[in-house]
């Protein structure tokens, strides 16, 4: 009944709509939330949506994993490994930046007791 969902075109449409919806959920959170940890969560959601988008659009369900060995020598039906390598790198970097940000937020909270970004105005006085 849901066979048509397996077609690459349909999958691409679903991936695009879904990941862009997720992207705007993150963007909405980034613009409306005031709690610093919630803002970091919004940023993480936006990042994940882009990773899904990129992998989803470059991945073909009919193709096989890009591993060359004695039986698999034909590269024409293999998935492109470059997006996967890129996204792996990007995930690591994104995680590192988020961890750094959360550690700044914790240190800042310890010193001032503030978590709301509207109240972060040390420079004003």
């Amino acid at each position: 009944m849901f066979e048509f969902l397996n077609q690459p075109e349909v999958i691409k449409i679903i991936v695009t709509i879904g990941s862009m919806a997720l992207f705007f959920v993150g963007l909405f959170g980034l613009l409306t939330r005031k709690h610093i940890i919630k803002i970091f969560m919004s940023i993480a959601i936006m990042e994940s949506s882009l990773f899904l988008f990129f992998i989803g659009l470059t991945f073909n369900t009919n193709f096989i994993a890009p591993i060359l060995d004695n039986t698999h020598v034909n590269i024409s039906n293999m998935n492109d490994p470059i997006p996967h390598a890129m996204i792996l790198t990007a995930i690591v970097i994104g995680m590192a930046v988020l961890a750094l940000g959360v550690s700044f937020a914790i240190e800042y909270y310890k010193l001032t007791g503030k978590t709301n970004i509207d109240e972060m105005n040390e420079m004003k006085h």
């Binding site: 980034l30 610093i36 803002i39 940023i43 936006m46 990042e47 882009l50 988008f53 990129f54 659009l57 470059t58 470059i82 997006p83 890129m86 790198t89 990007a90 970097i93 994104g94 590192a96 930046v97 988020l98 750094l100 940000g101 700044f104 937020a105 240190e107 800042y108 010193l111 001032t112 972060m120 040390e122 420079m123």
Partner: protein, 482 residues
């Protein structure tokens, strides 16, 4: 010798610092200094031997990783290594006086910053540019939060939040480029980018503009800059304003020239830059905190560089590179001087200049301010003159007006500062400056005047660099005709 050393040595050194620090802080400091002097030698060696080529790091292009060494990129590499060497020289005598800044961690961060800014400039691959973009980001976030005071942490948080958002837009752009073009190599993308459907092209351009716009401090994405400069220590601001912004600016326009050689959005970017300059100069007028004031001055100058780069013609790029040179040197003087003042007076309010008792520092700061302002016989004048000439050549008189008005507003607050410095009144005891620091100040000030008197030493070279940057075809030829 290989150009990979520019990235590998600072990174290697940075991560070996915890082990090296077992041998004492001085050991780390002097080894770091030695390594930077070696890189400086290497940069000038490559420049003088005129050995311009593509250096393959792993597999051949378009698949592998490669560095492009041409006049334009090597000019910036030489500038960055020169400035960071002087930074280390200044730091060597400064660190003993500041408990926080006298930690070996500082070397990890400054070397990471050097490696990433050189990597940004040399890289020929948009994904590597993203990776270096993030390394530069991480090192700058930590540097600005380094002192762990509430204001420093707030500056670090603001920097990190904007940087994280910027990197999301950059990843989005990289993903769309790969989906539509099928390659990450700049030369390959440059060949097929203009032929892409108009909507995709505009979408990618907007994403790149937002991603880099945060980092190149362009209006309206520069709201965070002044807070970051005010919260961070003045010493670190020298690195932000002198090195890392210049690397981002260069790589943004490098990508722009390769992707859109016909200059489709050139006029829009020129107006954006001019408006940024005007906004920054007007906002700078009523500032009383010196770090914040010079942050606005930085914004104004960077916006001027942005405008000149956006002209996308030889004169404009030559002027932009000239201002990059003059501004980096002048801002190093200013922020080093502010570091000395802050150390002595424990305050960085504009009123502290009244009590400043150091004829040497006053003279040096005045030279830097004259250069920033564009007084004849100083390097900044030549930059501004070339920029105005390039706008005149294209007949953009509105832009010329805006730049001149911006410079006039700028002069108001520089003369206000000079007035504060030379006002008669109660003075403190004479401010002590280490002899090593004096050498750094004198060298930088000498360069400003020397380049101002004899601009032809660098201007021809910068003109050639501009031609190279504009020539997208020879870039892909250099890459082996991919």
């Amino acid at each position: 010798m290989s150009s990979i050393l520019f990235v590998a040595l600072p990174l290697l050194f940075g991560f070996a610092t915890p082990i090296l620090s077992k041998f004492g802080k001085d050991g780390v400091a002097y080894t770091s200094m030695l390594m930077q002097v070696f890189l400086l030698y290497l940069a000038f060696d490559l420049l003088s031997s005129a050995d311009f080529h593509v250096e393959i790091i792993s597999i051949a292009p378009p698949l592998g990783i490669s560095f492009v060494l041409n006049k334009a990129s090597l000019f910036l590499v030489a500038l960055f290594t020169f400035l960071i060497t002087l930074f280390s020289l200044y730091y060597l005598s400064h660190r003993k006086t500041d408990a926080y800044e006298n930690e070996t961690k500082f070397f990890i961060l400054s070397n990471m910053l050097l490696a990433s800014s050189i990597g940004l400039v040399l890289s020929s691959d948009i994904f590597n540019i993203y990776v270096f973009f993030e390394i530069a980001g991480i090192s700058t976030y930590i540097l600005s939060a380094y002192k762990k005071t509430p204001s420093a942490l707030e500056a670090g948080l603001k920097y990190l939040l904007t940087g994280a958002v910027a990197s999301i837009f950059l990843v989005f752009a990289v993903a769309l480029i790969y989906i539509n073009v099928g390659s990450l190599n700049l030369a390959v993308i440059s060949q097929s980018f203009e032929a892409l459907p108009y909507n995709i092209k505009v979408l990618i351009s907007i994403l790149l503009l937002i991603g880099f716009g945060f980092k190149v401090e362009i209006f309206p994405l520069n709201f965070w800059v002044t807070d970051v400069y005010q919260g961070s220590s003045a010493l670190v601001n020298a690195l932000f304003s002198g090195i890392i912004v210049k690397a981002y600016l260069f790589v943004f326009f490098h990508i722009l020239y390769l992707f859109l050689p016909s200059g489709e959005f050139s006029v829009f970017l020129v107006y954006l830059g001019a408006v940024s300059m005007l906004v920054a100069e007007i906002a700078g007028l009523k500032q009383t905190n010196l770090k914040r004031l010079f942050a606005y001055s930085s914004l104004g100058q960077v916006a001027l560089v942005f405008t000149a780069f956006a002209m996308q013609n030889k004169e404009g790029i030559q002027a932009a590179l000239f201002i990059v040179l003059a501004h980096s040197i002048a801002k190093f003087i200013i922020f080093f001087a502010l570091t000395s003042i802050e150390k002595e007076h424990k305050s960085i309010h504009i009123e502290t200049l009244k009590e400043l008792n150091s004829p040497f520092l006053r003279a040096i700061m005045l030279i830097a301010m004259f250069s920033l302002l564009g007084i004849p016989l100083f390097a900044g004048f030549v930059g501004k003159f070339l920029a105005l000439k390039s706008f005149a050549v294209e007949g953009m008189f509105v832009i010329m007006m805006i730049i001149v008005i911006g410079s006039l507003i700028e002069s108001v607050y520089y003369f206000k500062l000079a007035g504060y410095m030379f006002i008669k009144g109660k003075k403190r005891e004479v401010l002590n400056i280490g002899s090593m620091q004096k050498v750094v100040f004198v060298l930088l000030a000498f360069l400003l005047i020397f380049i101002g008197i004899a601009p032809f030493i660098v201007s021809n070279f910068l003109g050639d660099s501009a031609n190279i940057l504009l020539d997208a075809k020879s870039y892909s030829d250099m890459m082996g005709g991919v």
